[in-house]
Amino acid sequence: MALTASRPKRRFRPALWVLTLPFVIMFALFFIAPIVYAIVDSLFSTKASGLGFGAPEKVFVFLDNYAAALSNPSFVESLGRLLLFSLIEVPLMVVTALGLALLLESARARWPRFFRVLYFVPYGVPGVIAALLWGFLYIPATSPVLQGLAAVGIDVNPLSSSGVLFAIANIALWGFAGYNMLILIAALNAIPSELYEAARIDGASEWSITWNIKLPLVRPSVILVTVFTIIGTLQLFVEPLVLRPLTTAISSDYTPNLAAYNQSFAQGNPSLAAAMAVIVALIGFVFSFGFLRLVNRKGNRAW
């Protein structure tokens, strides 16, 4: 990362404030403040006063909300489901995006520009609409794919309780694989062609060029894509919400975000919801930094 400082300028400049303050203020109001609010709120609980008369008051309960969230079996189950979803989605996404990028950049691809645009198009379809469309493709009455499979004797139900996580992973893959592929293609394009020529002169095969030159050199971008995908999977909310009316396999607290949303608006317990949101954010940080530490061992810094 280009963190190296440019040469020092003069000490104090009002322009510096004019340039930085608009973003810093907006960031503080709409990013930092909600996080602080959530953390503080998660330490309080709304209790009705003594006899039920008068306004309910906020009581400091310290970590009670966290204990309540983590002792709620369906919330813990939704956390486990989210981890399982990440385990499915992250490798699927990275392998697909990397595979498509390598294939499109290989000398054998016939219309690389055409396919690149084609793969990128779903990125412009909002997740909600993607989920609506795939929803139609997941029920036998409207899905040409399921009808075709049924005609040759294969009965699949993507919305069964065992298949629904994969059905959701597929929607996310469809939407974002093309974008991630573009990031990786750009990284592949940045590799100097001399490296390939030198390798070919040394008699290296395409496989060994891919394995020994391309993959090590696009590693930082693969890491970037992986971190973004990890964060993306933790946001899982829209797809299960849209697919829910189509199947009994998705409960109202199927993912932690759905659970928090329900606690906030349906159950009227925003403090518990805040604790749930903080737990998800913490898991996100642990995962992202854990992953970055893992890949940055051996003095091989990517970030």
Binding site: M1, A2, L3, T4, S6, K9, L16, V18, L19, F23, F30, F31, P34, I35, Y37, D41, L103, E105, A107, R108, A109, R110, F115, V117, F120, P122, G124, V125, P126, G127, I129, L132, F136, A141, T142, S143, V145, W174, A177, A186, A187, A190, I191, S193, Y196, P220, I223, L224, I231, L234, Q235, F237, Y261, S264, F265, A274, A277, A281, G284, W303
Partner: protein, 300 residues
């Protein structure tokens, strides 16, 4: 970083010239996989375009990937745009408003901040940058719920501002702008402009922004699509249907399909219209997607 794509062009031509040596078999496999992937990515879009020409009954009774005997695309479009006094066109306009205004302001303020972080040395600079970078790692869903309670306390929920203001913050934009300002705006140019008597803001406004244009376009497009696709934020913030963006509007219709199956066709045709809108935008702006910005950024 942007210019790095240049050697790539040469590279492909070098690689192309070697094609003759390669076996035909693997070429068939490679292109076969690419075609299959193409079918996969097109499938839902082709399905919805065909489904948008059907009656609600045919939607469930005819083969999904071919037209019915009596296509009625026009009738469906008329239905979509006249349902509830033409609320659908209001939703489209709202989406454009949220995405365009939000992305423009996001681009302007992140460019300014990223430029300052790249070109000024000040105390706490790296701390500030680390905090902003940390913002990239916070899932948006974590922000939306507490933000509702905060904005509710100042009476902003239910208004356009509740969606617009949070959409103007893009930590990723600051990150891109800083990386790009470092790479594309030479210190010598700034010094020369200063000697010529230009003020700092003028240097940023008329010289640096021009040099950072590829990054600005990328930040704008990235944020535009992010806002256009956003669902949770409008879902928690808005309650009046006339302030809804298209994503929220279509799920509102979708929730009424249980009551009246007519709505299935509205949802399908509405989805087709909004998918087409964005697909056209994506394809026409494809060359502006400088993903190499994001890729180069990790190298430094």
């Amino acid at each position: 970083m942007v210019n790095r794509s240049r050697p790539g062009v040469q590279k492909t031509s070098v690689a192309r010239s070697q094609r003759i040596k390669q076996p035909v078999g693997s070429s068939i496999v490679v292109n076969g996989i690419l075609v299959l992937a193409g079918i996969y990515f097109l499938l839902p879009i082709v399905w919805v375009l065909i489904a948008a020409t059907k009656t609600p009954g045919q939607l469930f009774n005819s083969f999904g990937l071919w037209f019915s005997d009596s296509p009625q695309a026009w009738q469906n479009l008329v239905n979509v745009f006249t349902q509830d006094n033409g609320i659908f066109s209001v939703w489209i306009l709202n989406s454009v408003l949220y995405a365009a205004v939000g992305a423009f302001v996001a681009m302007a303020i992140s460019a300014a901040c990223g430029y300052a972080l790249a070109k000024y040395v000040f105390r706490g600079r790296e701390t500030l940058f680390s905090i902003i970078l940390g913002g990239v790692l916070v899932p948006a869903t974590v922000i939306a719920l507490p933000l509702y309670f905060l904005l509710n306390s100042v009476g902003l929920t239910g208004t356009y501002w509740a969606v617009l203001l949070p959409s103007m913050v893009s930590p990723f934009g600051v990150y891109l702008a800083r990386i790009h300002a470092n790479a594309a705006v030479p210190d010598e140019v700034i010094e020369a402009a200063r000697i010529d008597g230009a003020g700092d803001l003028r240097i940023f406004g008329s010289i640096a922004t021009r040099m950072m244009m590829p990054a600005l376009v990328t930040i704008f497009l990235f944020q535009f699509v992010t806002i256009w696709n956003n669902y949770l934020l409008p879902l928690v913030m808005l309650n009046k249907t006339e302030t809804f963006p298209i994503t929220l509007g279509l799920t509102l219709w979708n929730s009424q399909t249980q009551r009246d199956p007519m709505f299935y066709q509205l949802v399908v045709t509405g989805s087709a219209v909004s998918a087409i809108l964005l697909v056209i935008l994506m394809i026409s702006l494809q060359r502006f997607w400088k993903a190499d910005l994001t890729a180069g950024s990790t190298k430094g």
